[in-house]
């Protein structure tokens, strides 16, 4: 006679029940316990009290633990995700003056830094010095070295991992410098050893006019250079050597003069990594595009005007991958430009401005792209440094240096720091903590114009083989995929499961019901990995084979069933009652099996009649649908199979729980069984059916293995039932092995998890609320 009163557990309740049983134990037991039991009453009461308390504690602890662990999971997910949006920051800033002894009077300079940000080099007024950033001291070896006897009038830095620098001299020659940093491990301690090498001077223009601008880019085929001379000439040249680039071997120089634009207007030069494309920026706001693939026959591709104002282009840089050009101007604007498809030009592409970034207060003096991502830093002549990210279209950080014009700036190779040199010879290093620059709410949830696309789009593509890949973290394709998979699964499962439940609960004979219900419930015991495996490897190819038959079935099955129902009316009543499980069911089975086998056996005939012999081609030409083998149709069957038992079982329970006396009440008023069903039973069972649907929905949303194995996991956003999709859950499973701990992808996957969690959590909560409302409205007594 022990009763566990499970109230909402709480400490007060615990106390209350304990007090109650110890202080006034007799009140409600004395009348129940007849005298023979009284002897053992005290002991049994104590046991009861203990059991009561034990049960309450277990319920209380269990409930609390569940709530806490769910909250814990939620908070953990949230913390991992929040890091994506935390502001980047600069943690330290060191600054010191460089040694400027032995200067000449040209302000061409270049700086660089190793990947561990320990050593910076400064090429300044013909001298190369290596500085130890930790001590702010010039390194004793190699010390300050003079690299040129003649004054340097122009410096161009090649892009890429190595530190290649071309210097143009006052007497019109070109010098190459390569700086290297080697890591040396001694007793487990890493030291960076800098070194440099110089090439022989090369003469491009024979008139020895000082070089005013220079750009260089080494590639497999040699070094491409472009120069502008004081005499007003623009030259491009390719320098090829039989041996190494900087060896003593004979060099071969092929060169060509360019006549557009006017050399006096050229303000800046830009070469791509292959040395095949040259952009010249001018003082009057033009961007001239040359194709240098054949150095002896350069092609002028286009001239782009960057805006209405005749703003001078002061700095140009390619972002990693050479697709986006960052352009800085005299007035301080910073913008991103991409070649976009157009019918206006001969080449079919046109350089188009795609983004503006935060404008500097002064003229842009230097742009340095990240070697890791689509980020870059810009500096101006008032000492400001801004950090931007192209994909995210955002300016992440702004530094307001020492108000002295910044002459050069480089982004550290790992994009975790930067170095500037200003007009007062201050070398400043900023350390950056900028782990997820490409993530903003916009890049996650709004269409983004990615490199190589003509339209902003929702795209998920987290990684690729190449380093210069632009990661695309659009979440919508995954959310879409989740909804699409769920929708198609529910489209098949809901009618089948609910109708099946209605038939089983309301019309099936009791004996048959006792078999059918457990059998369908056993379907739920099938592990979804088995379902997915079968769906992907067996069912998908089969479906591809018998698709025409399936389509035919979708028409013939309803027709033949209707025909059978019509025919049933002509079966004599005496015969109708014969069969134990219902003759109607037997006939229906025969009709179904018959129709299906006829359709299957005439698969090829249907295909040739209906689809001109090839249904895939027919689908493509008539409707424009591409048929993938692993598609939403396969999912709707496989995932349908997984959710049908749940929906069926809960719906059936709630239907058969509608009190019998309500059914009799309805029938007694002259309602037909069908009317009773639609007007009374469905309404009364609606809370149960509704929660069945919601639980099925939640299952379909979170389902992973089936979609993982049977969809092809293509993150595309198309409703077509004939192609695949990728769900949030499958995406996590697919990408987890490739996501380094703490990285952007890693955290974005947590975001996917959080979305999924929020999704199912809110569905369940809303479902529960609605169910409670329905139950209050249609509650039975």
């Amino acid at each position: 006679m022990t009763t566990f009163v499970v109230r909402s557990p709480g400490p007060q309740n615990l106390m209350a029940s304990a007090n109650h049983s110890s202080q006034a134990p007799n009140i409600h037991h004395s009348s129940l316990n007849p005298s023979p039991l009284r002897r053992s009453g005290t002991t049994s009461r104590r046991i009861r009290a203990l059991a009561d308390r034990g049960a309450a504690v277990i319920v209380w602890v269990g409930g609390l633990a569940t709530i806490l662990s769910i909250m814990g999971i939620f908070i953990y997910l949230l913390l991992e995700v929040v890091s994506l949006f935390l502001h980047s920051e600069s943690s330290e800033q060191t600054s010191f003056s460089i040694d400027t002894t032995g200067s000449n009077h040209f302000d061409s300079l270049a700086i660089g830094i190793d990947e561990y940000q320990e050593i910076a080099y400064v090429l300044y007024q013909g001298q190369l010095g290596f500085y130890d950033l930790a001590t702010s001291q010039l390194r004793p070896s190699p010390g300050m070295v003079s690299v040129s006897k003649t004054p340097i009038t122009a410096i161009g830095r090649a892009s890429g991992r190595n530190h290649h620098i071309a210097m143009g001299t006052q007497d019109g020659r070109v010098l190459f410098l390569m700086v290297q940093f080697r890591s040396v491990f001694e007793n487990g301690v890493r030291t960076i050893v800098p070194s440099f090498s110089m090439g022989d001077p090369i003469e491009i223009d024979t008139d020895q006019s000082p070089i005013t601008k220079i750009a260089c880019q080494p590639s497999d085929e040699g070094i491409t250079i472009a120069i502008v001379t004081k005499a007003g000439k623009i030259w491009v040249a390719k320098i090829e050597e039989a041996g190494g680039l900087l060896s003593e071997n004979e060099t071969m120089v092929r060169r060509m003069e360019l006549h557009t634009p006017d050399a006096t207007t050229v303000s800046t030069l830009l070469l791509d990594q292959l040395g095949e494309t040259l952009f010249l920026g001018t003082h009057d706001g033009r961007l001239v595009h040359w194709d240098l693939q054949d150095i002896e026959n350069p092609q002028l591709l286009s001239t782009t005007h960057i805006g209405h104002t005749k703003d001078s282009i002061t700095s140009l840089a390619y972002l990693i991958g050479d697709r986006t050009i960052i352009l800085g101007t005299q007035s301080g604007t910073v913008s991103a430009w991409m070649p976009m498809h157009t019918s206006n030009t001969e080449s079919g592409t046109q350089l188009t401005k795609v983004r503006d970034f935060v404008t500097h207060p002064g003229a842009i003096t230097a742009i340095s792209p990240s070697k890791r991502d689509k980020g870059f830093v810009t500096a101006d002549d008032q000492g400001h440094v801004f950090l931007h990210h192209s994909t995210a279209a955002q300016t992440i950080l702004a530094f307001h240096g020492y108000e002295s014009p910044i002459q050069d700036l480089v982004f550290a190779p790992k994009a975790n720091g930067l170095v500037t040199l200003d007009a007062q010879q201050q070398l400043t290093r900023y350390a950056l903590d900028n782990p997820h620059p490409e993530i903003t709410m916009n890049t996650l949830f709004t269409p983004v114009l990615y490199e190589g696309y003509d339209q902003p789009a929702h795209i998920w593509q987290s990684s690729s083989g190449s380093d210069d890949f632009e990661p695309k973290f659009g979440m919508w394709p995954l959310i879409f995929g989740t909804l699409k998979g769920t929708m198609y699964a529910m489209l098949l499962a809901v009618p089948l499961a609910v109708m099946g439940a209605i038939y089983t609960a309301m019309f099936m004979s009791r004996e048959l019901r006792a078999i059918v219900k457990p059998v369908i419930e056993i379907m739920a015991a099938l592990p979804s990995v088995v379902l997915g495996f079968l769906a992907g490897l067996w069912f998908a190819p089969l479906l591809e084979e018998i698709f025409p038959a399936l389509l035919a079935m979708s028409v013939t099955i309803p027709l033949s069933v209707m025909a059978a129902c019509l025919g049933w009316q002509y079966v004599p009543k005496s015969l109708q009652a014969r069969q134990r499980w219902g003759l109607d069911l037997v006939i229906l089975m025969i009709v179904l099996v018959g129709t299906i086998s006829v359709c299957l056996s005439s698969n090829h005939i249907i295909e040739s009649w209906w689809f001109d012999g090839n249904y895939k081609e027919w689908l493509l030409t008539v409707f424009g649908f591409q048929y993938d083998q692993r598609n939403a149709l396969v999912i709707s069957f496989a995932m349908g199979f997984a959710v049908i038992p749940i929906i069926f079982s809960i719906s059936e329970d709630s239907l058969s729980n509608v009190p019998k006396h309500l059914l009799s009440g309805s029938l007694a008023l002259g309602a037909t069984p069908w009317q009773t069903l639609t007007k009374l039973v469905l309404v009364s069972a609606s809370p149960g059916i509704f929660s069945a649907l919601m639980i099925g929905f939640g299952r379909a949303v979170g389902e992973t293995m089936i979609v993982l194995m049977a969809t092809g996991n293509t993150p595309i956003m198309e409703w077509s039932i004939f192609n695949g999709f990728r769900t949030l859950s499958a995406n996590i499973a697919v990408e987890m092995p490739e996501a380094p701990h703490g990285g952007t992808l890693y955290r974005v996957l947590f975001l996917a998890g959080l979305l999924l969690f929020t999704f199912t959590f809110s569905i369940n909560t809303i479902a529960e609320i609605i169910r409670q409302r329905l139950r209050a409205k249609y509650s039975q007594y």
């Binding site: 004979s509 009791r510 009543k573 009190p659 006396h661 309500l662 009799s664 009440g665 309805s666 029938l667 007694a668 008023l669 002259g670 309602a671 037909t672 009317q675 007007k679 009374l680 309404v683 009364s684 409205k777 249609y778 509650s779 039975q780 007594y781």
Partner: protein, 266 residues
């Protein structure tokens, strides 16, 4: 088996025409027989009561009168039940139509989980009566007929489940009346109700009698004596005695009837 052929198995002499005529009726639930060779006449516009101990088949007989027993798997009926001279068990009888002519109120109070209005309008709506004004009219008349109108007229759209037990039972009566039956079957309609509610329903029976034929099953001897015109006494599936209520209670023809009505068993 039928050693005691009941002496009063035919209907008592009455001027009234028989509304329901039951002839040689046997009823089986699967293999078990619940009613044995029942013969009786229910007179029109009178109240007929069935009494007898639990399990003697009163409810079964009642449910045979509007074929609700059809729903029980494996049930079977032999013999005839004539309503207005028509055999209601003939194959071509429209059962739903029969049930609108023979309404029933159950022992277990069973309003639908809908509003009061919807409960009463349920039956008419099944017959495609959808005009609002007509429905309003039917609802009002039926509720008045069940003596509930005054109590609920201001809250027709409240849930039926918010009514008290006695009100709910009268709502069930109103619901049955709404389809305009000419027979009303009542299976222990007051067994779950308090004395005041019971009194109200008994009062109601007298007014109902003017329009329809009432068959009531009751456990309560006083109730049968108070409200009914004719009484049938059942025992173990057999109709022992059927006669004028007065006769049954004052001068029963069978010893077993006397034992029962005087409270000696049952």
């Amino acid at each position: 088996m039928n050693l005691h052929m009941p002496p009063y198995s035919k209907a008592p002499a009455t001027k009234m025409t028989p509304k329901i005529l039951i002839q040689n009726m046997n009823f089986f639930y699967g293999a078990t027989q619940a009613l044995f060779d029942v013969n009786l006449e229910v007179p029109a516009q009178q109240i007929t009561a069935f009494i007898g101990p639990s399990g003697c088949g009163k409810s079964t007989l009642l449910r045979c009168l509007n074929r609700l027993n059809d729903l029980v798997d494996g049930s079977r009926l032999e013999g005839q039940i004539l309503l207005d001279g028509q055999d209601i068990y003939r194959a071509d009888v429209d059962v739903t139509d029969l049930r609108t002519r023979v309404g029933i109120v159950f022992q277990k109070v069973n309003p639908f989980p809908k509003t009061i209005y919807q409960n009463v309008a349920y039956g008419p709506r099944l017959q495609k009566v959808n005009r609002r004004a007509t429905l309003d009219d039917i609802v009002e008349k039926s509720l008045q007929g069940a003596g509930l109108w005054e109590e609920v007229k201001d809250r027709l759209h409240a849930s039926a489940l918010s009514l008290s037990g006695g009100q709910q039972q009268r709502l069930c009566i109103a619901r049955a009346l709404a389809v305009n039956p000419n027979v009303l079957l009542m299976d222990e309609p007051c067994s779950a109700l308090d004395p005041i509610s019971t009194a109200k329903i008994e009062e109601l029976l007298h007014t109902l009698k003017e329009q329809l034929t009432v068959v009531i099953v009751t456990h309560n001897m006083q109730q049968a004596a108070r409200v009914s015109d004719y009484t049938g006494f059942f025992l173990l599936g057999e109709l022992i005695e059927y006669d004028n209520t007065k006769k049954i209670f004052t001068n029963p023809g069978d010893q077993r009837t006397e034992d029962y009505v005087t409270g000696r068993f049952g």
